[in-house]
């Protein structure tokens, strides 16, 4: 059985005046997938997401969503989508419950159906006890969960999330991830943009790495790490103003060496062994850390920059 294609984009371009935000990308997403766009701020993720939401039109190229063309079938596509933008855009003066109910009206859902779903979604977002509170009084994490609940009011087939956990504390992020896993298990297709590599690794079955409007790599998180990085990474810090001076001295010990302003990364297969060799050679870093390779390393390898640059 072949999976159903729900989003298909070919040579997608988005220009704002002379600035080209998205430079001809190809993307295909299947039903039930969790698909990620990983890249730093300004990579073109939000522009891409807005085209996939059938809100903004591509300058060039084509995109189909559920096999429909957003230029002619925008309302029919959006009826089946849930969109969680970077900003919460909630009615702060109104209650949690009313925010959900009023949004349900946009989809022309019968009042009775909206009431039932609102109760379910309050439970899902763990906001049942705050249902009658003004949104203004909620914490950042609660507002974010409410925005996600709002995006689910029409029981969308695809939920599109732009930077869902930016600005949240670790506990709020984990709670939110847990909610997203649940949606994934229920079969909702998730499209997520993020500049957090751990979020991409946790949530995405497959992702593209975006940089400056182009896709520089595509695959499952583990596959990308295996393809573009080594198994482990040794991070070394030295008491120096310029870590660059250690580049040549450390090269013999690793497959690849990356020098960052505050540390040196050694790409190796057995980190602890490498560390012992370095110590044996009389090189003494002020601190050393051995860790597994991550998508951050993939990004660094592909672009020469870190995700948070």
């Amino acid at each position: 059985m072949t999976a159903e294609r729900v989003v298909e984009a070919r040579h997608l371009v988005k220009r704002f005046g002379s600035f080209e935000a998205v430079k001809g990308i190809d993307v295909a997403i299947d039903r039930g997938e969790s698909f990620g766009f990983l890249g730093p701020n300004g990579a073109g993720k939000t522009s891409t997401m807005r085209m996939m939401s059938a809100v903004s039109q591509p300058t060039e190229g084509t995109i189909t969503i559920f096999g429909l063309d957003p230029r002619t079938d925008g309302p029919d596509i959006r009826r089946r989508l849930g969109v969680v933008a970077q900003e919460d855009s909630l009615e702060l003066e109104l209650s949690v419950r009313l925010n959900l109910e009023m949004f349900g009206r946009y989809f022309d859902l019968p009042r009775r159906v909206v009431r039932e779903r609102v109760d379910e979604l309050l439970d899902f977002a763990q906001l049942t006890e705050r249902a009658d509170d003004k949104v203004d009084n909620l914490s950042g994490g609660m507002k974010r969960r409410l925005t996600i609940a709002r995006g689910l009011i029409n029981q969308p087939e695809i939920l599109i999330l732009d930077e869902p956990t930016t600005g949240l504390d670790p506990q709020a992020r984990h709670l939110l991830w847990d909610r997203l896993y649940r949606l994934k298990r229920e079969g909702v297709t998730l499209i997520i943009t993020t500049h957090y590599m751990d979020e991409a690794e946790q949530l995405c079955d497959r992702l593209v790495v975006m940089d400056r409007g182009t896709i520089v790599a595509e695959g499952a998180p583990r596959t990308l790490i295996e393809r573009y990085s080594t198994r482990e990474v040794v991070e070394l810090r030295f008491s120096t103003d310029d870590h660059e001076e250690f580049h040549s001295r450390l090269s013999p010990f690793a497959e690849r060496v990356e020098v960052l302003p505050d540390r040196v990364l050694l790409y190796v297969n057995e980190g602890d062994e490498t560390l012992m060799e370095i110590h044996a050679a009389g090189i003494t870093p002020s601190s050393a850390l051995v860790r597994r390779s991550s998508l951050e390393d993939v990004f660094l390898h592909l672009t020469g920059r870190t995700l948070t640059d």
């Binding site: 704002f16 309302p75 959006r78 909630l90 702060l92």
Partner: protein
Amino acid sequence: MAPTTRSQLSSARWLRSWWYHATFYAQTWRASVVASILFPFMFLASLGVGVGHLVGAHTGLVEGQTYLHFIAPSLLATTTMQLGESESLWPVLASVKWIRTYHAAAATPLEPEDILVGKLAWLATRAFFTAIAYTLIIACFGAIQSWWCLTLPFIGTLITVAFSAPLVAYASAAESDASFATLYRFAFVPMFLFSATFYPVSAYPGALRPVVQLFPLYHGVALVRAAAYGTGSLGPQLAHIAVLVAMAASGVLWGRRTLRRRLTD
């Protein structure tokens, strides 16, 4: 035929936006209602009765009316204008830029045009009921003298939409509210004061009269007076209506462009 189904769909969609505004208002109206009932009474008591006493002693009637009866109808025109102004600048900029609720709406089946039409239709609804309330208040002061007063709610609605449509269009394209205060200072307040609101246009020197007639509010005030007293011939009234309809229509056409660009680019 496809175009028919599309327009049927779209009429249902702007209503959803109207509903959203109506529900929001139903939650928040209490804060403003006392002030908006109290204000016209204070206004007419002070200017109409107080200043009217002086005017009566000095010049007698103004265009055949006592001063109180002369200024009372203009209050309906200025109030519906102010409704159009106040609901169309900051609230719209907040919806497209600060809180971005229009962006959230644009991610639902609604098109930017639905959001625009729903907003204006809701303001028209509010204007209609505001104008009914003001007609009753003006009647309390004895300034309603004709069955033509039944057209006052429609005239009030037209005034609100004539102002709000271009202002919604303008605010949809704005990057900040810096210009809004300037608009009030140099356009709305002078218009409120000088549109033959508090004295007849004949009080101006002849050369200035055509200038006053350039103010959109002047046409609203003239229409409202004609309807309250049942005076004036049909021709000039149709001209006043045409000016206000033209403002509303060009505002809608402009707003379609600015709001679509704001929400979909």
